[in-house]
């Protein structure tokens, strides 16, 4: 009997526990009444303006229906059809018999034309590939549509006039030049202009070619194919779509990346204490096709003298080297990303005082120029006082301040009479081309500094003044030519610019070049009318 009582008590507790656990989970829940309901559907997936939307009453009871479509319109039909004039997300309500209401959301999209194109070749080639354009366009009310295409100069195709205009629905064209080809389309539906659509079509040369990259002053990073036997007007640049930075004095190309060394807004002397926080330089990389930009390291808010002035990529070592304004050179692995520079995190690779040249050519605060490594030997350019190119190997780096008796590096220095902003080595012909900021000339010499020959002595734009003239900071070689980014002076006030440039044809800003190893080199413009700082060549044939 006792066991039965225990069992009964346990059962009551068990039930009680069950009910308690059930009660404690009761929370208010709101359901759409299954008695009152509706749905909707459109003829297409797109639900664009003008499209007739079928609203279906699914209520199981009721004899009167009040619809509010959320756009200020209503209906008393049981299953109305409604179309919206403006895009947006609307709340539709159905009230049955004036009492029971249900609300649902409906999103209506604007009519946005989508331009697609197909090509007869895997890569679009100028003067060859047929490119067919097609427009996806919802026009639910079947209103009259007008197409206005605008193609770049040189584009040919049926129905395209000499100015590149076409009113065809689906034009088919062949582009007449290389580079970024901007195609624009304005569609008018029943007199209403839709949002214009711009398509950037990348058009290639008919064979792989090297590429020259250049950082436009106040503009974007650009690229242009290095093609030697083509009418210049047919070889247009590609816009990579990324800003160049403030003073991108150096570009370097390595692997599939373009490295941009931006010295920031302030590249010359800045008084104390302002220089301590005026840094805003950055090293960043851009994918060769412009598909990505990634930050390597930045110095925002740091010492402006420690911004990133000149750079070099050692592919074998997998290291990025850069020179600050006047003190030395730093390094970081090429896979560095999104780092912030500080002297506590980054120690010098070499500094002025760590070489036997200190006091023997290099002195305190000598301002840096291009750095490069050639045959295992570093070439470090200096300008202003203590100028020239100072060569050394890693074994010459003392890692401490030089003391009396420390030897001068055996590789020696060259061009000590020149303030060298930038230089490039022509390995094949054993020449150095350098930009001298003291005499404002581009000069050619032998590797030992002899055999000097002035290439270009055109006046420059004056940026940096006399003491820290920027002059030419970007030089590159592609095996055929040496290129330099020249920023010329403004025509004198009151003069006619065209007359001035006709009289002084080499004073136009642009990317100039000469053929390598010519006895009497003739300067020509690879790109005219552009002001650039750093330039680099991708030697890969793409």
């Amino acid at each position: 009997m006792k066991k039965v009582k225990i069992l009964v008590i346990l059962s009551i507790l068990f039930y009680g526990l069950g009910f308690w656990s059930c009660e404690s989970e009761i929370e208010p829940e709101y359901f759409t009444s299954s008695e009152v309901d509706f749905d909707y559907s459109a003829p297409t997936l797109h639900y664009v303006i003008g499209e007739p939307i079928q609203f279906n009453n699914l209520s199981v009871t009721g004899s009167s229906w009040q619809w509010n479509f959320g756009d200020g319109t209503t209906s008393n039909e049981e299953n109305p059809v409604h179309s919206y004039d403006e895009p947006g997300t609307y709340t539709v309500s159905l009230t049955v018999d004036g009492v029971h209401e249900v609300r649902k959301k409906i999103m209506i999209s604007d009519i946005v034309p989508v331009v697609q194109y197909t090509a007869t070749d895997p890569a679009i080639v100028y003067n060859q590939t047929q490119v067919s354009f097609n427009v996806l366009l919802e026009n639910p009310e079947d209103k009259p549509v007008a197409y206005k295409w605008k193609f770049p100069g040189g584009t040919v195709g049926e129905g395209i006039d000499e100015n590149g205009n076409s009113e065809l629905e689906s034009p088919s064209v062949v582009f007449g030049s290389i580079g970024s080809q901007m195609v624009s389309l304005v569609i008018t539906i029943d007199g209403k202009n839709l949002t214009p659509v711009n398509v950037n079509v990348q058009v290639n040369y008919n064979q792989p070619a090297k590429t020259l990259y250049y950082a436009v002053k106040g503009g974007n990073i650009m690229a242009k194919k290095l093609i030697y036997d083509i009418e210049p007007s047919l070889n247009n640049p590609f816009d990579l779509g990324y800003r160049s930075g403030k003073h991108p004095l150096t570009l370097r190309y390595s692997g599939n990346w373009l490295y941009v060394f931006d010295a920031g807004t302030r590249f010359a002397f800045v008084n104390e204490p302002e220089y301590l926080t005026a840094g805003d330089g950055e090293i960043f990389v851009v994918a060769h096709d412009g598909s990505r930009r990634e930050s390597v390291i930045e110095n925002f808010g740091g010492n402006t003298f420690l911004d990133f002035y000149y750079g070099y990529i050692d592919e074998q070592e997998g290291m990025i080297y850069w020179a600050d304004r006047r003190e030395g050179i730093f390094r970081t692995p090429t896979n560095t990303r999104n780092e912030k520079f500080s002297l506590t995190e980054y120690d010098y690779f070499v500094r002025n005082t760590w070489l036997g040249y200190y006091g023997e050519g290099i002195s305190w605060g000598n301002i840096n120029g291009t750095i490069t490594k050639y045959n295992g030997v570093w070439w470090w350019a200096k300008h202003t006082t203590g100028s020239g190119i100072f060569k050394f190997t890693e074994s010459d780096i003392l890692g401490r301040d030089k003391v009396d008796g420390d030897p001068v590096p055996g590789a020696g220095s060259v061009l000590r009479n020149f303030g060298i902003r930038s230089f490039v080595i022509d390995e094949v012909n054993q020449k150095v081309y350098f930009a001298d900021s003291r005499y404002k000339m581009v000069i050619q010499s032998d590797l030992d500094g002899s055999g000097l020959k002035v290439i270009d002595n055109s006046p420059f734009d004056g940026e940096g003044g006399d003491t820290e003239a920027l002059f030419v900071t970007g030089m590159a070689i592609d095996g055929e030519y040496v290129y330099w980014a020249y920023r010329g002076p403004q025509p004198p006030a009151g003069s006619d610019p065209e007359e001035y440039y006709q009289a002084n044809p080499l004073h136009r800003s642009g990317i100039k070049r000469i053929k390598l190893n010519e006895e009497e080199p003739v300067i020509e413009y690879f790109i005219q009318g552009v002001e650039a700082y750093g330039i680099a060549v991708d030697q890969t044939l793409r």
Partner: protein, 286 residues
């Protein structure tokens, strides 16, 4: 022991009565609660729904493209009346505005249902779909996504277009940013914004908005209480782009994105007119 007593030692089908009693109690408890009803959640007794298993191998899809899926289904009544993909659409908005000088950032995001759960595509049932190895019908097919659902982003533009900015960033979000930012601005911020980068106010008037106090041996300029409204008004005179311009990176620190997300389910109805819905697969539209 009388005839009403329960002999707990009695066995039925070899099972002691006490275990039977406990089992009965347990089953009553489990099935008696309508809210916490594990039995009811598993099935509606009396109806047998078809079973469905499905998968979407790639759940990021570009608007205008089709989504590939794989589905296995079977039904004990061996008849299938309806097969279809349904989805609803969530709209996801993200706003980030930054005042670069001190790093103040306003981040807002929202997800809201934009379109109801609707039929997108139906499929015909066929005996040819039967896979004897899997003992189920198999469909490998696609369903469409409208190109109007393309993601929209506006990230750190290098040129400020006020009209475009206003189209994308609602006025109340701009106002919220300004109101939150104001208490975090100091003398130098105001000076840069109102006197250095632009000359919104005369220098003498501007300096009159601040008192000088000494902190140790350092002079500090602090805003007068009565100047607050005037300074707020001056800030509103600025193009909004001035407040978010990053002078280091040379862009405007605004990041807006609008994305859509599909919550897709496979719907099946068998010969008993019992419907079943698969688990929800989330597809992000790019």
């Amino acid at each position: 022991m009388n005839s009403y007593s329960l002999n707990i030692k009695t066995k039925y089908l070899g099972i002691p009565a006490k275990y039977i009693l406990a089992l009965v109690c347990l089953s009553v408890v489990i099935s008696s609660c309508e809210i916490n009803d594990p039995v009811g959640e598993i099935s509606d007794p009396g109806y047998i729904a078809a079973n469905i298993y499905w998968d979407i191998p790639v759940t990021n899809i570009t608007a205008g493209n089709n989504v590939d899926f794989y589905a296995e289904y079977w039904s004990t009544d061996e008849t299938i009346e309806y097969l279809g993909i349904w989805y609803n659409i969530d709209k996801i908005l993200n706003y980030t505005l930054t005042y670069p000088a001190n790093g103040y950032t306003l981040i807002l995001d929202s997800t809201e249902l934009a379109r109801e759960f609707l039929e997108i595509k139906t499929f015909a049932h066929s005996e040819e779909n039967y896979d004897p190895e899997k003992k189920a019908y198999v469909i490998e097919d696609q369903f469409p996504v409208s190109y109007t659902l393309a993601a929209l982003s506006y990230e750190n533009p290098s040129v400020f277009n006020q009209e475009q900015f206003n189209q994308l960033i609602p006025a109340d979000i701009q106002e919220q940013f300004l109101n939150n930012l104001f208490p975090q601005l100091g003398y130098q911020d105001f000076r840069n914004l109102l006197r250095v980068y632009r000359q919104v106010v005369e220098d003498e008037v501007f300096e009159g908005y601040f008192d000088t106090i000494m902190e140790g041996e350092t002079e500090i300029r602090v805003m007068k209480a009565e100047a607050e409204e005037a300074l707020k008004l001056h800030l509103r005179e600025l193009p909004f782009g001035d407040l978010i311009y990053n002078r280091n990176r040379q862009y405007y620190s605004v990041d807006f994105s609008q994305n859509y997300q599909l919550n897709a389910r496979f719907r099946i109805v068998n010969g008993n007119q019992v419907e079943n819905l698969s688990e929800t697969k989330v597809v992000s539209v790019l």
